[in-house]
């Protein structure tokens, strides 16, 4: 594998008037930069990569972060959560339970099911 864990941080930007909001305006880009900087400072950036992502379709939970390959989805992630995700999830393999999105249906999925 190329990365042991691959962290995708939503940085999607929508127009201000869009009712769905967007992770960019909630700090997605800064969050990703912080992940990247902290991983690099710990020499963990070869094993773990913090990647920018477009809309992850979990807009109401933003800032949304998904960690693969274990497909753990986090919502409402802030800069205060970065150390805990790195130390517990990435290094010790213990996901940060309090941030996990419990709802497993993507937004597009809910729209379909509501029809």
């Amino acid at each position: 594998m190329r990365f042991e864990k691959h962290i995708f941080v939503c940085e999607n930007k929508r127009e201000e008037e869009n009712p769905r909001g967007c992770c960019h305006d909630k700090g997605g880009a800064d969050l990703r930069q912080l992940f990247k900087a902290k991983l690099k400072s710990k020499n963990l950036n070869i094993k773990f990569r913090a990647n920018a992502a477009g809309c992850l379709d979990a807009c109401e939970y933003g800032v949304t972060v998904v960690v693969y390959p274990e497909q753990i989805w986090y919502g409402g992630v802030t800069e205060n959560d970065v150390d805990e995700i790195i130390e517990n999830h990435l290094i010790k393999n213990i996901p940060v339970e309090r941030l996990i999105i419990k709802d497993n249906l993507p937004t597009a999925g809910r729209k379909v099911y509501k029809k």
Copy 2:
């Protein structure tokens, strides 16, 4: 899980003079749009999501695509490969062998090892 398979397509854009090149200039954004449109036309966009990604650090293989959770990395992907990836990999779970990046070390990794 929110998606059965999550396809990240690199759309990273670098300045034209950058020797590493970039997936954007090789057609990354159009490729992602094609994945998205084809998945939607087949009503597969709930199970499978084609997502924009920033630099996946496999620049020399661009356009780079990674499919999670199985962490299959594809390089040199063009619009002509989209049907085969959807039909064989996403639907039938048979990865498209000829496109798989064999090298497992990310670019940043190689730089470190070369020191």
